[in-house]
Symmetry: C2
Subunit: 489 residues, 2 copies
């Protein structure tokens, strides 16, 4: 490990991150909400830390190797969540009594989980409310991706960095010209942001709420500025539809959508992952609507379809906005929703979870294993969208699936252990699934209408770890715990 | 598919199975319990069906190919559960009002699950009670294995048959001399049976109860003759210890134990799977005991260790005997127990679940995937006990794991769907895990002190299917649903 390179990169990253606190500061000034001092001190400390680290690490330029890149991404996220927690901490909010609460909220924002310790969201100073939603936007496409887009040319080092942050099983398109790619993706991201904000304002939201909900949507985050989440706008169908459509867009591969918008709309339909993604949304929403009607939970078809579609898209894309309390729905619909939580968005989208692409590969592998039983001599490699799935990709996808399940179970056990006697048997599993997959709401004690405030501080650290494990798809965080990884070689 | 061969083999199997009803008939006569007529008619019908099938399929001898062998095993189990249900059905027990109840109880016996629809077990005629436990014994090492051991030399066909029934990821030792292997394994099984029965009688049980509990132990089944399971003997520590030890033996690879007994006891300790198995038992029991003491659920160390060890061994080996209500224990211990339910016994044991060997492979694969991240150029194949795990074995183990998880989730969804409005969110997952892994008790509505009687008939069919899917490790049952499999080629 080359610690100088690591320090230099982390320092630059924190300088960028500290600078990104500026808009929140402006909102704080505009609303005179009393959060100026906490935000300004947090920003100053972050910038000072970033500068110090950068100057210690600065020497003549050296190449960034794979190890340093991995460490930068893993540590970069952990550090950003730390500095992102400072505004909350300095504001001394009554609902965030410990630093664990602040770190949890910050990590939840950056990883676009959207789980909150707050019950009374509307009571929070606007500057902090904006910071909360803004962390979603920063974390959505990725803080490292932003960093690579902004900073002067990093060469192959930029590619190694982004590799560890971009989601999905295959890292195509990560050429050494990664800076250009990052800029293109951010152009689309900003375009979406402008359009959704304007649409939400046209539908009746004020600028502040429109901006915050846009961040929550496009990053598949889920933080709202309302105590009752998007259900607060339930009478305004237009707002719900706008958010629904942009959640679907946010769960779509950004590079694919960029190509589609650039005059190749057929690319979308030809993409096997996207077809699978849309089929899951349509199929699950339909099945749940039928179950809601047949169980007499809902009487009207349009009402059932509306709520089931929103819940499916919100949980599948791992956004976590809520319009209906799905805990009052039949158990069978909850089982579907619980399984969808592990699916997630498409590879290369802002969605969390295991990603649709991995599930497509897993289903093909399962089908292949079944075929093998009665046709042992036929060797037919599984294909997706006409492309062969290599043995290597099969093993690596299955390995991620396995590690994901193990992390989920270990997380549930840790929470059950810490919260001894305070929770039921569903909650540890539910909360582990919800944070690992970067969703936010779950079942039982973290249901659609609840929050994470009641957890003990130790649980909040564990859950923060689960969130970043999920966001970075495990490896970049897990290796930080391997002593050999840190050896100066 | 060669339907004549299939019919001939299935006919022979049902002839064997029908004949195996004789001991129950004897007990019925001995106790004059009024179950003679149901048992005798069931036996007559089974034998007649077997004979008819055999005569239709009989022609000149032909080779048994892989497809026919797979179909024989899959259908053989489904059919045996059907004929095994007849004694219950003809007895018209009040707690088994539908045929679904009888089929469930029969499948639960054969697959050594031990889940029961009965609340008042002691009220059942002794002949049927014996049949219930006897189906455990038959299903333990496998009805196909028994069939191969008894029938005249089947050659390579016998090997193809047993392949589909024997558990675990590698099918070593399945030479064409499979008949000899089967006989050796049955020698050990019968030896265990004799020793445990005598020991239980010495500890104070009568012959009938000793025999039934021995069957339940050695097959890792879990049917008891007492309403409160093994907890009925809680004052008699000797009985509990005997059952505990034989559960551990039943969860051990039988071929390995045979070698150990034949003068090579070191073989046990040198076996990586067995060491892992014993470590899990010791580790989990210790952790649970500590949790029980620290949470003040138990005050005495010996008491906590005794109950935690029994619960761990009973669930890990997938036996399902109960001495303490673990649902009253802290949630953290329940999370451990829930995860152990998926582990199961060693490969080649009578235990269900995914098998210890598969988990050992899975952990090595996970470790390898982690190593790969920071040492991409080093290619180190994972090893178990000094033996390389081939790529093929990795993929096949991961595939079974994946299919297992998918089957578990699909099972939970089916149950939630059928039992709309009648169950909570834990029950479908719990019941799916408990039947797929052939355990018996689970959590919530199928907890340690409950039974499966309240489920709707359709659920009982689904659960029966899950049991046989788990017992035959999926493939031999799944392929029966593939139309192409049935093509006459």
């Amino acid at each position: 490990m080359n610690f100088h390179i690591l320090a230099k990169l982390l320092g630059l990253l924190q300088l960028t991150f500290g600078a990104s606190m500026l808009p929140s500061l402006c909102w704080s000034v505009y609303y005179r909400d009393g959060a100026f001092a906490p935000l300004a001190s947090a920003m100053a400390i972050t910038l000072a830390f970033g500068a110090a680290l950068y100057f210690w690490g600065r020497r003549k330029d050296e190449d960034i190797f794979r190890k340093e890149a991995t460490a930068t991404v893993g540590l970069g996220w952990l550090l950003s969540a730390f500095f992102g927690a400072l505004p909350y901490y300095f504001a001394q909010l009554s609902e965030m009594p410990t630093f664990a609460d602040c770190y949890f909220e910050s990590m939840s924002g950056l990883t676009t989980t959207g789980a909150s310790v707050l019950a009374d969201i509307e009571a929070i100073p606007k500057g902090l409310l904006f910071w909360r939603s803004w962390t979603h936007w920063l974390g959505g496409l990725g803080i490292i991706m932003l960093f690579v887009a902004i900073l002067p040319y990093l060469g192959a080092g930029g590619r190694a960095l982004v590799r560890n942050e971009v989601t999905g099983p295959v890292k195509e398109g990560l050429t050494p010209r990664i800076k250009d790619t990052a800029l293109l993706l951010y152009r689309l991201y900003i375009g979406y942001t402008v359009v959704e904000t304007i649409l939400l304002m046209m539908a009746g939201m004020n600028f502040f709420d429109a901006l915050c909900h846009t961040f929550g949507t496009l990053a598949t985050g889920g933080f709202s500025t309302q105590n009752t989440s998007v259900a607060a706008y339930y009478d305004n169908g237009a707002i719900e539809i706008i958010i629904l459509i942009f959640m679907i867009l946010a769960g779509t591969n950004f590079a694919l959508m960029y190509a589609a918008i650039r005059g190749r709309p057929l690319k979308l339909w030809k993409d096997a992952e996207w077809r699978f993604y849309i089929s899951i949304i349509g199929g699950a929403a339909l099945v749940i609507a039928i179950l809601l009607l047949s169980s007499n939970t809902y009487q009207a078809i349009d009402h059932a379809l509306r709520d089931s579609l929103f819940a499916v898209v919100s949980l599948l894309t791992t956004t976590g906005f809520v319009t209906a309390d799905f805990e009052a729905w039949p158990v069978s619909t909850q089982v579907i929703l619980a399984v969808l939580m592990f699916f997630g968005g498409c590879a290369g989208s802002t969605g969390g979870g295991l990603k649709i692409m991995r599930w497509a590969i897993l289903f093909k592998v399962a089908q292949g294993a079944l075929d093998q039983v009665y046709r042992p001599r036929t060797i037919r490699k599984p294909k997706i969208g006409g492309v062969l799935i290599s043995d290597e990709l099969q093993v690596s996808t299955l390995s991620v699936f396995l590690l994901w399940v193990l992390t989920f179970l270990l997380g549930a056990f840790a929470i059950a252990l810490i919260e001894q006697g305070r929770i039921d048997l569903i909650t540890p599993f539910s909360v582990s699934a919800s944070t690992l997959n970067n969703i936010g709401p779950g079942f039982s004690m973290v249901g659609a209408t609840q929050n994470y405030g009641f957890f003990l501080p130790s649980s909040k650290w564990v859950l923060s770890l689960l969130m970043v494990l999920g966001r970075l798809e495990l490896y970049s965080i897990l290796v930080l715990f391997v002593p050999r990884f840190w050896r100066v070689s």
